[in-house]
């Protein structure tokens, strides 16, 4: 049966619809619905600002995801570098003309939306590397020229994002890129060397950090030191999660949330609010939903017949995992507080846009899994 379509890129609409990964689609939709409920709770039990905006974005970007998925993966392969360059251009734009909010210049005012190019870069870097390593022969991966080029591609956006300053996103961009480099077969010794280098230079890096970033780092190691200041977020976050218990305090009954003890509860700390209201069981369900999503994304990658599709799916799946890991570790007090949203759940247009574009390309890989890319 596959034989018939395997070498053609002319799929009928019906065929496309049939080959959608419905489990993935459904899992994404479920997380979207859960995020809607969380926003409803943030709005104090009514559909207001956050709920409206968030659900509107989710709906629009969900449709966008479907549109992307119906477009041949060849197109995405072809536009890989372009996407990276646009994202990079926007980063530069943000650095010079961006909107400044809470001490960080990371947004571009597009009038209907405040776009955060660093979020787009999280996808663009994966797309770029997937395209780059699609063609490179395995024995050339570790050539000096390739390593150098990859390094430049990775470092420029990271540098731009750090200088915004936005430590969290730059770390996530770095990890997203590195994971593709790792998958592409870059020699393990480079990873070991650069880790060692990072460790040695850590004190110097820390000395370049902004005071508030240093404080976050310090309070991570001892949150009790300044319970009303820098340690406040993490203490309140742990209280919210811990007080949730097995079944949670109940929908709309999270006291830490509605009494405003939780900072940033609609963005980075959304999981805390959710976990307080739905408890261990709810959190586990959410984690399982995310696991299903990651598993399906990687599964799609493993069926792809192109290196591009495979690298992108593996890379994106791993990146999603890392986003979730960093966010959860942060809110559960396992990592210092850095800005990192929880995919789909957190309020924020750019993050949602980037994530949905990623899922769209993954689904395109699924629909065009037999597509060969030269």
């Amino acid at each position: 049966m596959y034989q018939r379509f395997s070498y053609t890129n002319q799929l009928t609409f019906f065929q496309k619809v049939r080959s959608i990964d419905y489990i993935l689609l459904f899992a994404i939709l479920l997380v979207g619905i859960v995020s809607g409920f969380s926003m409803y709770s943030i709005d104090g039990g009514s559909i207001e600002y956050y709920t409206q905006n968030h659900l509107l974005r989710f709906s629009v970007f969900f449709v966008l995801m479907l549109i992307i998925s119906f477009i041949n993966i060849k197109i995405w392969h072809a536009t890989g570098y372009l996407f990276y360059i646009i994202a990079l251009g926007l980063l530069f734009w943000a650095s010079f003309y961006g909107v400044t909010a809470s001490g960080s210049q990371r947004w571009i005012n597009l009038h209907f939306i405040n776009l955060q190019p660093s979020e787009l870069m999280k996808i663009a870097i994966i797309l770029c590397f997937a395209k780059y390593y699609h063609r490179i022969q395995i024995h050339n991966v570790n050539s000096v020229k390739n390593i150098l080029l990859s390094f430049i591609i990775l470092v420029i956006p990271i540098f731009l994002v750090i200088s915004q300053p936005d430590l969290g996103t730059s770390v996530l961009i770095a990890l997203s890129g590195i994971i593709v480099l790792w998958l592409a077969g870059l020699n393990i010794k480079y990873f070991v060397y650069s880790s060692l280098l990072l460790l040695i230079s850590a004190p110097f890096i820390i000395s370049f950090l902004k005071p508030y970033q240093k404080l976050r780092l310090l309070t991570f190691f001892d949150p009790g030191k300044d319970p009303l200041g820098a340690g406040y977020q993490i203490i309140q976050s742990k209280i919210a999660v811990g007080s949730g218990g097995l079944y949670g305090k109940g929908f709309l009954k999270g006291t830490q949330g509605y009494l405003e003890f939780l900072p940033e509860k609609h963005t980075d700390f959304i999981f805390t609010l959710f976990s307080e209201e739905f408890g261990f069981v709810g959190s586990l369900v959410l984690l399982i939903l995310y696991s299903i999503i990651i598993f399906r994304v990687i599964r799609i990658g493993s069926f792809s017949r192109s290196f591009f599709g495979r690298l992108f799916c593996f890379g994106f799946g791993s990146a999603i995992f890392i986003y979730i890991l960093v966010n959860m570790s942060m809110v559960l007090g396992l990592l210092p507080v850095v800005g990192s949203p929880l995919p789909i759940m957190s309020y924020g247009g750019s993050s949602m846009l980037a994530t949905m574009i990623g899922f769209g390309i993954v689904m395109s890989t699924k629909i065009y899994s037999k597509q060969l890319i030269s």
């Binding site: 022969q137 395995i138 024995h139 994971i179 790792w182 998958l183 592409a184 077969g185 309140q236 742990k238 209280i239 919210a240 999660v241 811990g242 007080s243 949730g244 218990g245 097995l246 006291t255 830490q256 009494l259 405003e260 003890f261 976990s275 408890g279 261990f280 959190s283 586990l284 984690l287 696991s291 990651i294 990687i298 990658g301 493993s302 017949r305 192109s306 290196f307 495979r310 690298l311 593996f314 791993s318 995992f321 890991l325 959860m328 570790s329 559960l332 396992l334 060969l372 030269s374």
Partner: protein
């Protein structure tokens, strides 16, 4: 091309897949790590975080407890609670604090120091803590605030309760007063510390202080939810506090007020006691002050005025004032001498106005002398020379025993009033111990007429008189009417029983009790021979109701009100020969040097019920300054007896 299956592509494919697999394995491990962390927070440490979350959101606000009241014998409130109008501001809820304060300053006519104090106080406390702008607004001010309230966002007119003493200065020395909690109160009283909230008033002296624990009541508690900024979101529950215990006194307000009136503009004290039940019917010390002044902090000028008053309004003279008893001691001296068989009532002494003894001259108050005197006459006319002789024969140590037995030299009300003073009845042992000197016989003579070392407070003379008047039986005075209070009839029949039972055998038990200092049991006889008591009482009757008696001028002939008494005039300084020659009128002597006037009395004579002691500081002679007061008091006292009997505490009432 993957499908071309070239070696390099296969190698690339397997590298990617292998590395993905390694990473996925790592993911699985990390996933379980996160789940483990969630488990430890939400399941293992759930209790801890739940407590922390409650601590975050729940706040308790304790309101001042409602203080128990004091009532007089008839149930009238003598220290109660009054509606108080206050103005509170919670700075957090005010948009423009400065504007509000300026407006309030204008409306309430706050002076600039009060205004500045309020601003300072505001800066010291947390923005969500209540700032009390005024603790006691007049009704006018309160309604004015309410009128402008729509312009005064954040201002909260509050109606609360405050202490009120309706009889103003009448009860001050009994009840004391309440005022703001001080650091000392917090350190010394755990109950106050536990229940302390802004606006709490606690007892500072008198019964208000003594019964603090029972009066204070418990706080009402409001629990409410606050948000992260400390703002109240909603009330969770309200726990109504318990009002403090209401305490009923034995005092009759009518009589108490009348004593105030009688002592007006004088320094002195009046105590009235039921001689059988020991109930204190009036206890007053003059001058007094209005305890209401202390509720909201007294202003400095007024305070200095009270403190510097030469008549000492802050001293409770009834309990803390110590004076020479003067001739009021003579009934006890006579009784002691009779009981010890030192003299016979028929002993005659010739009074020539003075007597030479041990190389010194001792004068009688009557310069010309009383002539031939018997014991009864000597009491009646208060002949000093006779009593010099009696005390010479008696000796100070035997007098000491009798006087202490009848209530001198000991606290009358025990622990009720921390400021009560014991006074002093001297003895040879006391002098040796306290002054390391031996006793001079001359001092015995002076003690016998109530001068010298001997010192008493007015209430001691009152209980002494009571214990004589009731036939010589021990009573324990009380000021609280409760289930432990004695019933007049019960006491009377018990005393009659005691009189019959007073055999030699019982006397032994009594002597043992005395020896072991266990305190004399209530209603046990204090005499050896009841005839001796009767003799002394009869002498006191004659002193008031027969011609030549020292208080004859103040007698009441109507048997219903007829009373018996003994005057006393206590010297405050030694009378020199020159003074005797001058023989100045009272008003010519400087106030500080004038004698204290004493009068002790009991009545009605036929069926005694009450005893009283009256002191007028620097009032001159007892017969002129103190005895007329008794005459007025007995009329009211006996007229009100019927009412009082009706109000008698029945055991079933409680």
């Amino acid at each position: 091309m993957i499908s071309s299956s070239s070696d390099t592509n296969l190698k690339k494919l397997s590298t990617i897949n292998r590395r993905m697999f390694i990473f996925s394995a790592a993911k699985a491990v990390i996933f379980f790590g996160i789940v483990g962390r969630l488990f430890s927070l939400q399941i293992s440490e759930n209790k801890k975080y739940l407590t922390l979350s409650d601590k975050n959101r729940l706040r308790e606000s304790r309101l001042p407890p409602v203080r128990g009241e004091f009532q007089d014998y008839f149930g009238n409130t003598v220290a109660g609670n009054l509606k108080v109008y206050q103005l509170h501001v919670v700075p957090e809820q005010v948009e423009d604090f400065k504007y509000l304060m300026v407006r309030l300053k204008d409306i309430l006519n706050l002076d600039s120091t009060t205004f500045e104090n309020l601003i300072n106080k505001k800066n010291k406390q947390k923005p969500w803590e209540t700032l009390i702008i005024s603790e006691n607004l007049s009704w006018d001010e309160f309604s004015k605030i309410n009128f402008y309230l729509h312009e005064l966002t954040g201002a909260k007119p509050v109606i609360t309760v405050g202490r009120d003493y309706p009889y103003k200065d009448s009860y001050t020395h009994v009840l004391g007063y309440v005022s703001q909690v001080s650091t000392n109160d917090l350190l010394n009283n755990k109950t106050i510390k536990d229940r302390n909230v802004p606006g709490l008033r606690v007892g500072k002296s008198g019964l208000e202080k003594t019964f603090e624990e029972q009066l204070i009541g418990t706080n009402s508690i409001q629990r409410y939810e606050v948000n992260a900024y400390g703002k109240r979101i909603n009330q969770i529950d309200h726990e109504e506090g318990q009002k403090g215990k209401t305490i009923r006194l034995t005092i009759d307000t009518e009589i108490q007020n009348y004593t105030s009136e009688l002592l007006k503009d004088k320094a002195g004290s009046i105590s009235i006691m039921d001689i059988f039940t020991g109930e204190i019917i009036a206890m007053n010390s003059s001058p007094s002050f209005d305890p209401n002044l202390f509720l909201y902090g007294i202003d400095k000028k007024k305070w200095t005025e009270i403190k510097k008053d030469p008549l000492k309004p802050l001293v409770n003279k009834t309990l803390s004032g110590l004076y020479s008893p003067g001739s009021t001691i003579k009934p006890i001296v006579a009784l002691s001498a009779l009981e010890n068989n030192v003299i016979s009532p028929n002993m005659k002494v010739n009074c020539s106005g003075k007597i030479e003894m041990y190389g010194q001259t001792y004068h009688c108050w009557k310069e010309k002398g009383h002539g031939q005197m018997s014991l009864k006459n000597a009491i009646k006319q208060s002949c000093d020379v006779y009593f010099y002789e009696v005390s010479r024969l008696l000796g100070v140590d035997r007098l000491n025993i009798t006087a202490e037995k009848f209530g001198l030299g000991n606290k009358v009300l025990g622990d009720f009033f921390p400021n009560e003073k014991k006074g002093l009845v001297p003895s040879t042992i006391w002098k040796k111990k306290a002054l390391d000197q031996s006793w001079y016989l001359g001092e015995t003579l002076i003690t016998g007429i109530g001068q010298g070392y001997i010192q008493v407070n007015p209430l001691q003379l009152c209980i002494m008189t009571a214990q004589l008047a009731n036939g010589g039986y021990k009573i324990y005075p009380t000021i609280i009417a409760d289930e432990k209070s004695n019933n007049f009839e019960d006491v009377k029949s018990k005393i009659q029983q005691q009189a019959i039972d007073n055999t030699e055998e019982n006397y032994l038990i009594k002597a043992t009790e005395e020896f072991l200092k266990t305190g004399i049991k209530e209603h046990t006889p204090l005499y050896r021979n009841p005839e001796n008591i009767k003799f002394v009482l009869d002498a006191m009757f004659k002193s008031t109701n027969e011609v030549y008696g020292t208080s004859y001028a103040s007698r009441i002939d109507d048997p219903k009100y007829q009373f018996a008494g003994k005057t006393g005039t206590a010297q405050v300084k030694r009378i020199t020969e020159r003074d005797r020659e001058l023989d100045l009128d009272l008003l010519q002597i400087p106030y500080k040097d004038r004698d204290h006037a004493w009068f002790i009395a009991f009545g009605p004579y036929k069926n005694p019920r009450y005893s009283m002691s009256i002191l007028v500081e620097h009032g001159g002679s007892g017969s002129k300054a103190a005895a007329p007061i008794a005459k007025k008091l007995f009329k009211l006292l006996i007229d009100r007896q019927e009412l009082r009997d009706k109000k008698k505490i029945k055991k079933t009432d409680i």
